[in-house]
Amino acid sequence: MEDLQQLLPIIIPIFLIQVILAITALVHVLKHPNYKFGNKIMWIIIVLFIQMIGPIIYFLFGRGEEE
């Protein structure tokens, strides 16, 4: 357990970054229902369950144009 405690200062920021990314992407998916492809449910699943890469793929390729 001592090992884990030693690693906490580095695991917490990593965890925080992933949560922030996932939440920002989730809010965006819910608020802007226009996507380049796919539908809402698909993007929610991708954003929440594929760590890191899910939100990035959404913002780069899935996000539709603003109205």
């Binding site: 200062p9 580095i10 970054i17 890191m52 913002f59």
Partner: protein, 254 residues
């Protein structure tokens, strides 16, 4: 100059609004945090998969392992993200036709190209320096007594390679209008660099060395003298690419 800084500010805002800043920051920060972590954890992960005798034969992780992970991450994923995010920096606006309005109001074309180059270089530098600071802090934290020398040279070469790549992207943006042509052109240049790296005679101008020899630098296999020619060649090429981009863009129809 006013035009230049106005475009620079505009670039900042568009980076923020298209969520690219978010992606850029989170990827760079994550890579930075992961480097010392994976260096520290690697022996334990391996010991879960491999028989005990094999796992025990691995050396204990040191500060070198942490920097090794840092250079591996940034020369691959880090630069990949830079290319991915900055590839549409000019071509998107050319496709949309939004630049034409600004040009008709008298915006100088050189200011557009230069401000976009400076913005990309600025973001790369800031992201890189912050990630470096994080890795440095954690490496000192976990391995207080380390004998890593020549860190600055190793850091500097990869940074210079990033700047060269950004110049290539800007040049490609002027040549092509579409995102994928820009990506393909950049990929082509990188393949060319790999081909140059095959020939030992071209060692002095093989730009790829800047991004692949960082660990060797840390192990004191190279010094500043080994890189003076290569660094001048790289900086010279970058400047030529940007100047060419400005000249071509001045003559081209938007």
């Amino acid at each position: 100059m006013t035009q230049f800084w106005a475009m620079f500010k505009k670039e900042n805002i568009s980076f923020l609004r298209t969520y690219k800043l978010l992606i850029f920051c989170s990827v760079f920060l994550l890579l930075a945090f992961l480097s010392p972590l994976s260096a520290k954890f690697m022996p334990e992960i391996l010991s879960n998969f491999l028989p005990k005798e094999v796992a025990d034969s691995f050396p204990e992780p040191t500060a070198f392992s942490s920097w090794e992970q840092f250079f591996k991450n940034f020369s691959q994923i880090g630069l990949f993200i830079v290319v991915l995010l900055f590839a549409p920096i000019l071509s998107a606006e050319r496709q949309n036709g939004t630049l034409i309005i600004l040009f008709s109001k008298g915006l100088s074309r050189s200011a557009v190209v230069m401000s976009k180059w400076l913005f990309a270089a600025f973001m790369w530098t800031i992201g890189y320096v912050i990630s470096f600071a994080i890795v440095y802090f954690y490496t000192e934290f976990y391995w207080p007594a380390n004998d890593v020398t020549q860190l600055f040279l190793a850091i500097f070469t990869l940074w210079l390679f990033g700047l060269f790549l950004i110049s290539v992207i800007i040049f490609a943006n002027v040549l092509f209008r579409s995102y994928f042509s820009t990506l393909l052109f950049t990929l082509g240049i990188i393949i060319l660099l790999f081909i140059v790296a095959i020939f030992p005679k071209l060692e002095k101008i093989s730009i790829l060395r800047l991004a692949t020899e960082n660990n060797a630098i840390l192990q004191n296999l190279f010094t500043w003298q080994d890189y003076t020619v290569l660094m001048s060649v790289t900086s010279g090429l970058s400047i030529i690419l940007v100047l060419l981009a400005v000249i071509i863009f001045n003559k081209k129809t938007v």
